[in-house]
Every structure is written in structure tokens, then in C-alpha cells.
Assembly symmetry: C3
């Protein structure tokens, strides 16, 4: 695997899933595949689970990790080719990426969308510039439109808890939030689920919250949450903002918060969320604190997802 930016970098999700589950059984491989390999984690935006789980994964492999908080260091990069840099930006991504590519064997990048221009965010300009100039494998720690490490952890979790007798029904349902959030977790989950092709994916959201078809094509898309939940085996709850007008939050008539009452129509569905979760806004306490909830397990699986991705990148060096 050359980079880890989306499911398109992966031969088949099951390869990575199986690799991750093997690491979960034996976290520290005896041959130290990462020994002497250096991982730089560059955060343009805050991170908790991704930061920790990726560091833990790299340590398990024997890699040396250095975390760089670009946002807090006031290290403002220029991304425009040919710019006359007489303003706020202090370094061009060309120069930054070239140097980081000399310092590290693998580079992790986290960069959020600005949610102001769909074209700009969906071009993944920041991530792509690092890929173009660094000359080393790049692993996405969540980008403007996708979050592949989260999705891989999600598939690992579903693999562990799926029914063996039938193809499970997985519902990705929109949920309320208090501010406009990126589409990346939802985009990425749909993209991975459909590439994996081992479950029946239903996406449910209020009118006006359609996701980009490039990621959801092949899923059933409903605007009735209750219809979607019928007979579900897994319910993945997540908020996202509108794609058009981009980054807005059109009013929603009904309350889409997931509750235990709503789960009655499912097949004892297990409930997922990428965290952090706004309790009693996105999901009710009773759901999150019930045995139906997989959210802690899902977050714990972030370690094994990152470890599988890093191990595959290291092999390509």
C-alpha cells in the first residue's frame, strides 16, 4: 500500500481487517516491523482518539513517533503555487513537505475542511500537496472529506459483532448536532462499506442532507429514519452538515436523536458512533450506556486499524 487516504488505496478491506484483528490478538509483533522507521504526525486540527491510537499503534510496531501540532504552533502554510509570500503564510507546503519527507519514513496528516467552499474542500488540496511533495507514504488522520482510519475501525467492529447466518443490515443515520460538522466520517463509512460489500447499507437523513453520490452510490437512501431502522443489525449514528448549500444546517422537522424506543424496530441492533458524541442530542444516555452500544469498543479498535494501515505502508517503503 503506497498511501492510506481512502479505501481506494486498499486491495480489499478484508485484508486490512484481518491484519488488524491479528494485531488485536498480538499487539507487539516479535519481529518489530517498524524498528528504525520514523512516523511524523502532523495535526493542523485538534485530535484525541486519532492522535492517541495512531501513536499506540506505531509504538506497538516499534516505530519512533513525533507529533507536531501545526495549528497551535502558528505554522501557517501557503498552498498556492507561485504565491508571492508577503502575507500571513510563513512557509510553502512544497518546502515543508519536502523537508518532512526527509525527516520521516511515513507522514500522517490531519486537516479539516473549512466548510466554506465545496470545491475547495472536496479537492483535498492540503492532503494532496503533501502527497505530491513529501515523497514518502502519507496516512490520512482525517482529511477534508474522508476519515479512512475511522472507517477501518468501524468495519473491524462490525466484523467482530456481525451475525454469521446472514448479511447484516447496517444503517448510517444522520443525527442532530449544535453546529455544522464535516461530512467526512459519513462519506468514508459509506465508501468503505460499499467497497467491502459484506453488508446491506442504508443511509438515512432528513431532506437536504444528501451525501456526495461518489461515496454512497449503491446504498439505499431513505429520508425516513424509522423506515431505515426496521430490522437493522447495526445503527451508525452521525451528524453532518449539508452539501448544498455547502456547510449549512437546514432546519429539520422531526427529532432524529437515536433513542431506545426507536431501536425497538431493529433486530437488537448494536449502536455505533465515532465519538466524541453529544449525549442526549445525537444519542440518548440510555442507548449509550446500554449493552447495545459499541462506541467504546469502536474507539478501542482505532489502535488496530492504525496498526494494520501503518504495517502495510511500512512494507511498501
Amino acid at each position: 500500500m503506497k498511501h492510506f487516504l481512502s479505501v481506494n488505496d486498499v486491495t480489499h478491506p478484508d485484508e486490512l481487517i484481518n491484519r488488524a484483528l491479528a494485531f488485536k490478538q498480538q499487539p507487539v509483533p516479535p519481529h518489530h516491523p517498524g524498528k528504525g522507521r520514523r512516523l511524523g504526525l502532523l495535526f493542523f486540527n485538534p485530535s484525541l482518539r486519532t492522535r492517541l491510537s495512531t501513536q499506540l499503534a506505531a509504538q506497538n510496531l516499534g516505530m519512533e513517533v513525533i507529533v507536531l501540532n501545526a495549528g497551535r504552533e502558528n505554522w501557517t502554510l501557503e498552498f498556492t503555487d507561485g504565491a508571492v509570500m508577503d502575507g500571513e503564510t510563513v512557509e510553502h507546503v512544497k518546502d515543508a513537505a519536502r523537508v518532512l519527507g526527509r525527516y520521516f519514513d511515513v507522514l500522517g496528516i490531519r486537516t479539516f475542511p473549512k466548510l466554506q467552499s465545496r470545491d475547495e474542500d472536496y479537492a483535498e488540496h492540503v492532503l494532496n500537496q503533501f502527497v505530491r511533495h513529501a515523497g514518502v507514504p502519507v496516512i490520512s488522520l482525517e482529511s477534508a472529506t474522508l476519515h479512512p482510519l475511522q472507517s477501518l475501525a468501524d468495519l473491524i467492529t462490525i466484523t467482530e459483532h456481525r451475525p454469521h447466518s446472514r448479511k447484516p443490515k447496517v444503517v448510517l443515520t444522520w443525527a442532530p448536532h449544535i453546529k455544522p460538522l464535516p461530512q467526512c466520517v459519513a462519506n468514508s463509512f459509506a465508501q468503505w462499506m460499499l467497497a467491502w460489500n459484506k453488508a446491506h447499507l442504508v443511509v438515512a437523513h432528513p431532506p437536504g442532507y444528501e451525501l456526495d453520490e461518489q461515496f454512497t452510490r449503491g446504498a439505499d437512501i431513505l429520508t425516513s429514519q424509522m423506515e431505515a431502522l426496521q430490522d437493522a443489525d447495526f445503527v451508525y449514528v452521525k451528524n453532518w452538515s449539508s452539501l448544498n448549500p455547502y456547510g449549512t444546517t437546514p432546519a429539520v422537522g422531526e427529532n432524529w436523536m437515536l433513542t431506545s424506543a426507536k431501536l425497538q424496530v431493529t433486530r437488537n441492533a448494536r449502536v455505533m458512533h465515532c465519538l466524541p458524541v453529544r449525549r442526549n442530542v445525537e444519542l440518548s444516555d440510555e442507548v449509550l450506556d446500554s449493552p447495545a452500544s459499541l462506541v467504546t469498543e469502536q474507539a478501542a479498535n482505532r489502535i488496530w486499524a492504525a496498526q494494520a494501515a501503518l504495517a502495510s505502508l511500512i512494507e511498501s517503503i
Copy 2:
């Protein structure tokens, strides 16, 4: 030892003191007791000595350490059960603690008091929520009301420098400062000294600066600094704010700054302070730069205190 939150978690202080002094002789134990163990250090408030000494201690044991600056990451936790999280808080401590408990074998927490409500601070709500939900040993890196790693280092320092012929007289004396400080270092020192029971503890402070009796019961309490200093073997200097009205700084008539002149009445007392110290406000330069001062030694002993506590926690896993 299950947790390290106060002296009450300790069978006897001498066990930890002896263990710490053994580490001081041999910092890196050959059997690497911490190998494969992961320590997460979560700082809701700034830290210098605690941050460094705990990392160094963990490294000596062979643990892997990750530091998380919760305060600076704008990671605002919700601590109220049942809260509808439609405000500023982005994650409930339940979810955060559960995930951190999956990422780490031992969790360190630093959380300062707000100094606004005595009931709230003395309930140690933040620390206790992590203990309740993380499911792994928790080590206090200074909490709202106590600072056990500091106190253990203090007892180590007194052990090293105490007279052998008699029970030493130890005076904890209030000192001036320019702003309201927590009571935790003073509370904790009194609590450990009295549990240790190998010295005669005298607490001296101006009227209005009484500490909570749950920590000082058994000590002699004086409001005359000079009377307290008489024949002292150790003088521990520390400022704290008032308990009632909580967090205030009632006016003090005399100057309680510790000077060399005042030390004349002691038995060549050694002088302690947890640092950082406001020179020429809490203590005079001449005291701090004299051979009587143990403050650097005391700060250096923080490493061995943390190492003894961590080693004991690891054994309980």
C-alpha cells in the same frame, strides 16, 4: 495499590519511601517492570515538574508514555450525569474515561480546583469520574484538594535529611503570595505527615487560613509563625488561600515571608518548598540560595516518588 489519589491508597508511606530511595540508587531496574505498559498523562492544567518527573519515572520503568494537554486542546469535558449536551462541552467524561481506559494501562490526571465552590472542589468530582469510568489505575498528578506525588517526594526528602537521634519537628508555615492558590499541597503534606507519624507536625498560618481538619487533625496548629519555628528541624513554606470564605485571601497583618533571621530560632532547620516559588515574597533569596534550602533536592525527588507510585500501580494490574 489500586489507585494513587491520597495517602489512604497506601499501606504505609515507608513502603513507598523505601521503594523510591531504592530507585534513586538504581534508576533503571534490570527487569523493566513497566515494559509493555502504557501510561497516559492527562493535563487539564499546566505542569512542569510533575509532567517531567512522571515521564522520567515511567521511562525508567520501561513504560510507554503519552502526554495529553487537555486544556490546550480545547477538549472541554462534560461532568454532569444526564446532561443534554447542547452547549460548550464536547465530550462526556464517561465516554472519554472509558476510551482512555482502553488505550492505557495507567492513567494520570491533573486537575486544579476552580476555587469558587468548596463543596465542588472538595468532592474531587473530576478525578473521581475518571476513577469511576476508566477501569484502570488512576494516579493523581495533583487534584483539586491533594497532591500526593509532591507529598511523597517531601517525605523522601525529610527521610534523607532527618536527624537520627530524635523525632524531627516539622513546621508547615503559610507564606505570602500575590494570588489565591489551592490548598492541595498543604492539605496533602499534612495528611501524609500525620499518616507517616515519624515527625512532630506543626502547622502555622495567620488567622483565617485554617486548613480542613480532615487533613490536619493531630497536628499542632499555631497562628504565630515565630512560636512555630522554635527548634524546628524542617520548615516547609507554602501559600494557600482561605477555606472560608472559600478561595479568598484575607489581609494578613505581619509579613510571613520566611527569612534567614527567622530561621535563627530553629535547629539549623532545612527549608522546603514545592516550587515554583515567588522569591522575596514567599522566601527570601538568602534562604533559597543557602545550604539550608532543600528545594532542588525535593524537586529532584519527584522522579523517585513517581517511580515508586507507578511501580506499585503496575503490580496491581
Copy 3:
């Protein structure tokens, strides 16, 4: 080597250069010279390359590294002897340095000039106080007036690319910037080049941008950029602010940005810059993206410079 603060701490630059080039061939020495040695890196100011390259160098040697961002921790030190600390400063450098000297075997310090008082900055008060009180080797990570790790990397880069048949001509040329910068990279480069004495150094700058003679004495100093560039083998581009009036940026008539057209008069000169660079202000894109540019190589050599300096400091412990 007792400290690493300037070229004056070095017996001969070639010793360190050769050591660095050996590390470039074999980054991880098999005998782990840094094993059990602890490096504390204290940043009072932001850093990217220095922070990363010094950590990587220390890891190669087997040292344990802890990074402390003093600036962002709001850890405001007092530097005046005898100060009554009733103001903004929370800890005296005496106490801080003494404790850090107990925690670490080697201490790295980054401290920028304030550019307000030449006397204050050129006294290197911050760095010198740490040297005076820490009691362990101190390595400068860039100080108010010098940047020896950068200069050593610069000499390594010149050594790798110099002509073998003759003493190269090296031109340090001032370049435009949008704000007042320290003189330290330029001071330090001149100081190291002249001590090294293996090249002909020419310093070119507009009138009013004279550097301190203590660093440039022995170099040819010109105020015509084109005259300086004639037959140059290396062109080092760097902005700095005026020494008198200190920290100002007197108007410059011509455009001193380095372009490919200007390089025509050189002997196919290689171009250097310490990064970060303001593209199309200090240097044109065409120069930076041409094979003439050594800037990425130069930044990569920061690792080997730091590793050579640290290895030499460790030997003195």
C-alpha cells in the same frame, strides 16, 4: 565539548563536520552512545526543523527526549537577580535551571531576541543563565544572536557540494522580508565560516544592514549584491534586521530578492537558505525549484549536525 553555544565551543568545525557525515552514513551507531542519557528541549519560541531534527538525532543516539514548550505553557521566568517576584513572572530561572539540571543530562534551549535592546539581546542573558545554573551541558537551539546547529548543518552542506580543485567563494546575501528578523542565522554562519577558514566569505547587504563585526571580521563586505555574486560557488540567502537602530528595517532602494537571472554571474552557484523561506520575496520560485537549490538537503543535514553536537556533549559528561 562542554556546551554547544557557538563555534567557540568547538575545537575545529571539521571534527564535527566529519562526525556528522559519518552519522549520515550510519544513523544509528551500534553502541548506543546516548543510552540512559536524557535530553530536555526547552522551547521559549516556536520551532519546526530544530525541534524535529534534534529529536531525531537524539533518538538515533539512543537518548530519551522530552520536549517542553515553555512559551505555550505560560511558564514566565524571572531573569533578574534579587527580583521581588510579586508580578507576572512565576519562577526564577535559578530555580528552574537547577531543577532541569537534575532532570536531564543535556539541556537544549531555544530563545529568540526581543529585538528591542541590542545590549540585552547580545548579552544572551537567557541562555547564559541556564548555563550558569543548570550544571549540565547546554545546547543552543537558536539563541538571541546565534544559531550554531544551523551553521554546522550549513558547513556540512557546503562540504558535501564544494569544488575540490579550489577554495570556494561563498556569498551570504541579505534578502527582503516582510518583518524584522533576528541577525542570528547570519551572525552564526559568518562566525562558523570564518573559524572554518576553508572558503572565501563575502557578505553582501544594503547600507544600514551591517552585521556585528565580532562575527564578520575577516570577511569581505559589499553593499552591491551583483558584485558579490560574481563567480560565487555558493549563495546563502537570508534576511536580517538592522543592528543600528536595532531591530529596524531601513528602506532598501533595489530589489535584493535572489533570482535565476542574478545567478547568471555565478559559477553555477548552489543556493542555500535556512528555511522557512518567503517564496518570491526572499528567493524566486524558479531558484528554489531548480537543481541549484540545496535548501531541502540543508534542512535534512540538521539531523546530522544535531547528532554530532549531542554525541560530543555526551562524551563530556
